[in-house]
Amino acid sequence: MSVEIKTTSIEPIRQTYGHTQRRFGDKPATRYQEASFDIQSTTNFHYRPLYDHQFELYDPDHTALKMCDWYAFSDPRQFYYGAWVANRDAMQKNAENSFSFFEKRNLGSRLSDEAKQLVIKTLLPLRHMEMGANMNNVGIAGDAYGTTISQAHMFHGMDRLATAQYLSRIGLLIDDTPGVVLAEAKQLWMEDPAWQGVRRYVEDSFVIKDWAELSVAQNLVFDGLLYPYLNDHLEAELDELGGGDIAILTDFMGDWFKDGTRFIDALFKTLAAESEANREQLNRWIQHWHERAVEALEPIVGKAGIASSQALLAKRLTKLGLDTDAVASHY
């Protein structure tokens, strides 16, 4: 760029793309706006999908919810691809530091047997649940209408794969022979009666056809009940058993849950605010999946764990304009 230019005389003829301008006004747009709004095809689709004849290639009817404008949802984190990877790279560096700190100090060898057992029994089987959450969110990204909703779920799906991979690393790190405790945890996931409720819940979620219902079942309800337990209670329990060091490795899960919650809450708030019909539909789904999630999770997180998660979920639902009756009934 060696050309010298009297910049004042070179005036732009427009500030941003036409669709961006119609939505946000004729002014320079943010990178999130240009990358995310009104870029998906909306009309004149050529062929019906061979695998789904009743739908167009991109079809708002993959959910029972209705929106006048599917781009009413805007990700509060303003994640487009570049912003997301930059943010996750920073998080990843933190996690990496924690893992190498743990490794260098050989903190694994300080872990009591009881603490190790608790990790195997409660934390490690969740790597399979996270794989399920990955599939669910990627599936939502495929079905959901409009880029803002689709990409937020896609990023979330990849985040969940990362969580599954970090959990696997924890399993490797605390193991004498790598792979043994992970196999033990997988065995629990497959056969232990305490885990069968969760596994059934996850497998049942795989066949939910409505992407918004699926996001309710996975991201709002199930995670909303599980993660507060992991972040608060499990840590305390580990601490008591002499496994407080593990918290160094699971810290990232708390950060990610907080971060993901921002988009999940914004999404359901927007969907619920659209109409009474949406609100009622969401409430019905929440009630149904909440009941199932409580049943599934209780053997793992205990009655007290569930109760405090329910209280937090109820608070969130109130803020989103959704009913708390369903989740209140249990505590």
Binding site: M1, V3, I5, K6, T7, S9, I10, I13, T16, Y17, G18, H19, E34, A35, D38, I39, Q40, S41, T43, F45, H46, Y47, P49, L50, Y51, Y81, G82, V85, A86, R88, D89, Q92, E96, E103, K104, N106, S109, E130, M135, V138, G139, G142, S150, G157, M158, Q165, S168, R169, L172, L173, D175, P178, G179, L182, K186, W189, M190, D204, F206, V207
Partner: protein
């Protein structure tokens, strides 16, 4: 001791634990209910665990590499915007290639993002799922970095401002749109054969190298930079393309004829789609990179030839009609530009007659065809234009039912005759540009009768009425006199001259 043993896991085992081992055999729901798209194409998968991971990337490493690439890329975009980098391009006509790119190619990247998300959920094998998911987010990256790369140019030049709107409506953009939607509406195995293998593995060099080198030769820093930045993503996508083909073919011999049919279809469809790239290379780049014929020789005839040799041992033969592409390489770019020149009132970019120097270059590159067939045509048009009678064709052309290109391409064995095929299906007559396209129709007529053909749609009044000016201006959002028409005397040319004086 713990730490040391975990380090001893080799890369492959470690990656297995990070991916394969996360999955499990479900027992509360049936496999076919969880992965309902896996069977209907007739592809037989005996054992997903035979899948060889084409690349082994965990998410933490993915973020690390990609974040670094994004940082560098956006630093260039910022510098170009701050320094009026658009003024460094070779010639304002060059920007027309960029207009073509953002309206015709960027939306395909988006479709790829969605398509790989679907397959990344639908494949029963976890290794294949994760490879597709990573490609999915890469494709979203390409969509968005392209939008951001062009964002600055859009502020100074026409034709880019409504690219998603145009993609869904404008007559020639139905060529790329129908191409990709054909793949996206197919089953997961055909989608990967079409896009990962036929397009990314066999043909990608013919799409990206012309645009990226074209950008490099013509001073377009933003396009060069995103192109190079996307290249390491593409390398991953190509390995996925090769793996999927080998995997399907190795799983069951019954898969071979199905895959062969797909290879025939997708090579032909890709070849037709690329005629737009050929035209871009030969006519729209002020500084030329190489000719379309040279590119086709190098990247298809040589590289593709070797590849199909390699696939012979699976019982795969080279794609049907490949020999016609070899004949067509000397014609297709000229014929395509001729179409766009005539319909230059309905294009979101300017068109023009090549300069005398450019025509000499074309004579040299196309010794058998240019002087004999195309130079006289362009010289006649130049004469008319000089007399103030710039030619615009106001009739609506017949489109091919499959590739949707106007019937303006000649017979493989007679380059003075327009190639035209037809067929009657359930009492209705359908028209095609070639044997290749008609073949595709015959294999799946129920699919292709659905095609949204721009000319039919205009005639049926579905594009805002019969007044072409309204169709172009209101329905397409091509701004009359600004985005379209002849380059000579255009506002684009006028502004460029003024800006250059300010430099």
């Amino acid at each position: 001791m713990n730490a040391k043993t975990s380090k001893r896991l080799n890369m492959k085992d470690r990656y297995r634990i990070m991916t394969r081992d996360l999955a499990w055999e479900p027992s509360y729901q049936r496999h076919e209910d969880i992965f309902p798209q896996e069977d209907f194409e007739g592809i037989k998968i005996v054992d997903w665990s035979q899948w060889e991971d084409p690349f082994r990337l965990t998410m933490d490493n993915y973020w690390k590499f990609q974040a670094e690439k994004e940082r560098k890329l956006y630093a260039i975009f910022d510098a170009v915007s701050q320094n009026n980098g658009q003024m460094n391009v070779s010639d304002p006509r060059y920007l027309n290639a960029v207009k073509l790119f953002i309206t015709a190619v960027t939306p395909l990247e988006y479709n790829a993002y969605k398509g790989y998300a679907r397959v990344g959920r639908q494949f029963g094998g976890v290794g294949a799922r994760i490879a597709c998911q990573m490609q999915s987010i890469d494709e979203l990256r390409h969509t968005q970095t392209q939008i951001h790369a062009m964002s600055h140019y859009n502020k100074y030049f026409g034709g880019m401002h409504d690219f998603p709107h145009m993609f869904d409506r404008v007559w020639y953009l139905s060529v790329p749109k129908s191409f990709f939607e054909d793949a996206s509406t197919a089953g997961p195995f055909e989608f990967l054969t079409a896009i990962s293998f036929s397009f990314e593995y066999v043909l990608t060099n013919l799409l990206f190298l012309p645009f990226m080198s074209g950008a490099a030769y013509n001073g377009d820093m933003n396009t060069v930079t995103f192109g190079f930045s996307a290249q390491s993503d593409e390398a991953r996508h190509m390995t996925l393309g090769l793996e999927i083909i080998k995997f399907i073919l190795e799983q069951h011999e019954d898969n071979v004829p199905i895959v062969q049919k797909w290879l025939d279809k997708w090579l032909w469809r890709g070849y037709r789609l690329l005629s737009i790239v050929g035209m871009m290379m030969d006519y729209m780049l002020p500084n030329k990179v190489m000719s379309w014929a040279e590119a086709w020789e190098m990247y298809y005839e040589e590289a593709g030839g070797a590849l199909f040799k390699e696939l012979e041992r699976y019982g795969i033969r080279p794609p049907k009609f490949a020999e016609q592409t070899v004949i067509g390489k000397n014609h297709v770019s000229h014929q395509t530009w001729f179409v766009f020149y005539q319909y230059g009132h309905a294009t979101a970019f300017n068109t023009w007659i090549p300069t005398a120097k450019e025509m000499d270059w074309l004579s040299e590159k196309y010794p058998d065809t240019f002087d004999r067939l195309y130079r006289p045509r362009f010289e006649l048009l130049a004469e008319k234009a000089a007399k103030g009678e710039r030619f615009y064709n106001n009739t609506l052309p017949q489109l091919c039912q499959i590739c949707q290109i106007p019937l303006a391409i000649t017979e493989p064995d007679d380059d003075t005759m327009i190639s035209h095929r037809d067929t009657v299906h359930e009492g209705e007559r359908y028209h095609f540009c070639s044997d290749g396209c008609r073949d595709i129709f015959h294999n799946e007529p129920e699919k292709y009768v659905q095609a949204w053909l721009p000319v039919h749609q205009i005639l049926q009044g579905n594009c805002g009425g019969a007044d072409m000016e309204k169709v172009i201006g209101d329905y397409y959002r091509i701004e009359m006199g600004e985005d379209n028409l002849e380059f000579e005397g255009s506002p684009e040319q006028r502004r460029w001259k003024q800006w250059k004086q300010a430099v």
